[in-house]
């Protein structure tokens, strides 16, 4: 990172830190905890901050959903008390931070395959077909590979209009991570990232952009967040998981995937294509990023208290907002790690 970048991110950090501080100057003696990052968990985090204000009125949270990239930058530049990201930080980016950054997984979501077909039947897809469609090799709805998975459904002789996200996003990260795991060709040609060089398809901005294009274009197929599909009543496909079972995406099948996935001790995990008969294969978690060594003991103590609350009481609220909570065993492991934060 160049000096200039650091400088501009510091300025941005100052603005983020002090803007609301000035606004709330009258309510003194309140501690303001600043955070920035991912947009995907923003609704649940706002809910948590609201509820937590009732538990501990002395702390006020100020969270800016500027995107995961911004969250990683801000925590590295120490301009916020916690960052948030939809993808784990790379080793390269972690090395730039002045201290050890912990990844605290909070909730999880899934990507679903949404489509626009006459009558919108719920059909089944497997890894080969999804990869084939997104690599541009399966071009028509009546391709024998699709029909083979769905006896009883007649597909039209129509071009598949592939729609993907055009903005960088954690949703795309999960999607491409899944495709890279199940298709060697995808991994070699395209790879995993928040935005990639798409072999085919149209780009829509945000979940609303993809959903809009899918809804408006006959024969379209795209991926959106499960929450978005549920709330907008869009049809979505069942996907075959690594155990060979077709699974409907749901909060339960996401939590199941996290329970069966291999999760390392630094919690930088990917749960796509997780084993287990009930796991939905295309899902991922979102993380809070905090320093293991807190600079300000008073703030550090409050932050740890909040994290513990979020991982216990907070998790119970997740389902109401259509987020998948962490499985119990993982929750315990994360709580133990939170206890290791030093002041």
């Amino acid at each position: 990172m160049t000096k200039l970048d650091q400088f501009s991110s510091k300025i941005l950090g100052l603005v983020i830190a002090f803007g609301p501080a000035f606004a709330g100057a009258t309510a003194s003696a309140q501690m303001t905890m600043n955070g920035a990052g991912a947009t995907f968990p923003y609704p649940i985090y706002s809910k948590w901050f609201d509820e937590y204000a009732k538990v501990d009125p002395s702390v006020r949270f100020n969270y800016q959903s500027i995107g995961s990239g911004g969250g990683q930058k801000q925590i590295t530049a120490q301009t916020v008390d916690f960052g948030a990201s939809d993808g784990p930080m790379s080793d390269e980016n972690l090395a730039k931070a002045p201290g050890k950054i912990l990844h605290i997984p909070t909730v999880a979501g899934a990507d679903v395959v949404a489509y626009n077909l006459p009558g919108n039947p719920v059909f089944k897809l497997d890894a080969d077909v999804i990869a084939g469609i997104f690599l541009g090799q399966i071009k028509k709805w009546n391709d024998p590979k699709i029909a083979g998975l769905n006896p009883g459904i007649t597909f039209p002789d129509q071009e598949i209009v592939v729609v993907h996200r055009s903005d960088g996003s954690g949703t795309t990260y999960i999607w491409t991570d899944y495709l890279s795991k199940i298709s060697a060709e995808w991994k070699q040609k395209v790879g995993t990232n928040t935005s990639v060089n798409w072999p085919t398809g149209l780009g829509g901005k945000g979940n609303e952009g993809v959903a809009g294009q899918v809804k408006q274009t006959p024969g379209a197929l795209g991926y959106v967040e499960l929450i978005y599909a549920i709330q907008n009543k869009m049809p979505y496909a069942d996907v075959k998981n690594s155990a060979g079972k077709f699974v409907k995406p749901s909060l339960e099948s996401i939590t199941a995937a996290m329970a069966t996935a291999q999760i390392p001790d630094d919690f930088r995990f990917s749960v796509t294509n997780a084993p287990g008969a009930t796991s939905y294969p295309i899902c991922g978690a979102t993380w809070l990023l905090v320093y293991e060594q807190q600079k300000d003991p008073a703030k550090g103590k409050k932050l740890v208290e909040f994290l513990k609350w979020a991982l216990t009481k907070g998790e119970d609220m997740a389902k109401d907002l259509d987020y998948a909570p962490l499985p119990n065993e993982l929750r315990e492991r994360v709580l133990k790690r939170v206890d290791e934060i030093k002041m």
Partner: protein, 328 residues
């Protein structure tokens, strides 16, 4: 300004007298203040350029001139080329101008030359309201209303009529370069119209009267006395519109399809410089990636300046070789 029309009262005169000695200093302060403000704008432009160049130094070193001539945009492999975006910005802006300029100037002409007085103000207000619609709203309207309509009605007709040309060939998705151009046209229409209207209004009535006196018809008066007199100003209005078109982001992103490719067909999706910054800046985590996006900003900045310089040059040649044509 007529000075003697209304002689100042005693009180008013004494106020003027009292102010007189101080105004020497005041004038100077005012002069320096305005100079500082004017310079601040110049400094700001240079600072923006300098910042963008510094922010993209890594990418400039790594890709050099190839950044402008290659078409791969691959954040995973960190290979970045801006050509499809430059092409998309140029073509979508051009489409927008082709649609918006005749419409705007015709509207302005109607409003200044032909429309009955009672209808002028309502139309002007409506056009100004169009300018007040936030771009993201226009974009959503684009996805949910304009795109389906374009796809089902005008696009198939265009394809049937002109499908033999490469411009209107290929499958119709709705989201396309043409849709991007149309939405930009809607967005720059108000500014070109209101500036053109002001320019046409400033054409002296003597011009029109002289033409009428020579027995010109209404069209001839408009063409010879009004349009040719206002030519330079109208060109300026178009350039203002072009400036807007080049930088338009949100609404375009929603309807252009966001695919970095160069296709002759206007039905194919495209991508613009401003859109790729808006789309990818927030989630760019690696240095080279971020710097490449900065360089896209630099390119857009350069194109905007270049367009303005070219416009200045054109204006100058217009002035020297084609003096306002006298009424024949």
């Amino acid at each position: 300004m007529p000075v003697v029309a209304n002689p100042p009262t005693l009180a008013a005169r004494s106020t003027i007298d009292r102010m007189a000695p101080a105004s020497g200093v005041g004038d100077k302060i005012f002069k320096w203040l305005t100079l500082a403000m004017a310079l601040a704008v110049v400094v700001l432009v240079f600072l923006v350029g300098w910042q963008l160049a510094r922010g993209s130094s890594l990418a400039i070193q790594k890709f050099g001139f190839h950044f402008l001539t290659t078409s791969t945009w691959d954040p995973v492999a960190e290979q970045f080329g801006a050509l499809p975006f430059i092409y998309g910005t140029a073509v979508s802006s051009l489409i927008a101008l082709i649609i918006a300029v005749p419409l705007s100037i015709a509207t302005a002409l109607f409003l200044t030359e032909l429309a009955p007085l009672w209808i002028r103000q309502p139309i002007i207000s409506l056009i100004e309201m169009l300018a007040a619609i936030p771009s993201v709203i226009l974009g959503l309207w684009g996805i949910f209303v304009m795109i389906p309509w374009l796809r089902d009605h005008p696009f198939p007709v265009l394809k049937r009529l002109f499908g033999w040309t490469p411009l209107f060939d290929g499958p119709i998705y709705g989201t396309s370069m043409l849709a991007g151009g149309i939405i930009i046209a809607i967005m720059i229409l108000p500014i070109i119209t209101s500036v053109s209207r002001e320019i046409l209004r400033s054409v002296p009535n003597l011009q029109r009267e002289a033409a009428y006196a020579l027995g010109a018809t209404r069209w001839e008066v408009t063409r010879i006395a009004v349009l040719s007199y206002a030519r330079k100003g109208l060109f300026g209005a178009v350039i203002l519109g072009l400036g807007r078109a080049l930088g338009e982001t949100m609404a375009v992103t929603m309807v252009i399809g966001n695919t970095p490719q160069i296709r002759a067909s206007l039905f194919a999706p495209g991508y613009t410089l401003a859109s790729v910054i808006a789309n990818e800046f927030t989630e760019a985590t690696t240095d080279v990636y971020l710097q490449a996006l900065f360089e896209i900003g630099l390119v857009l900045f350069g194109i905007t300046i270049l367009a303005n310089l070219l416009a200045q040059l054109l204006l100058r040649t217009m002035g020297s070789t084609m003096p306002p044509r006298a009424v024949q």
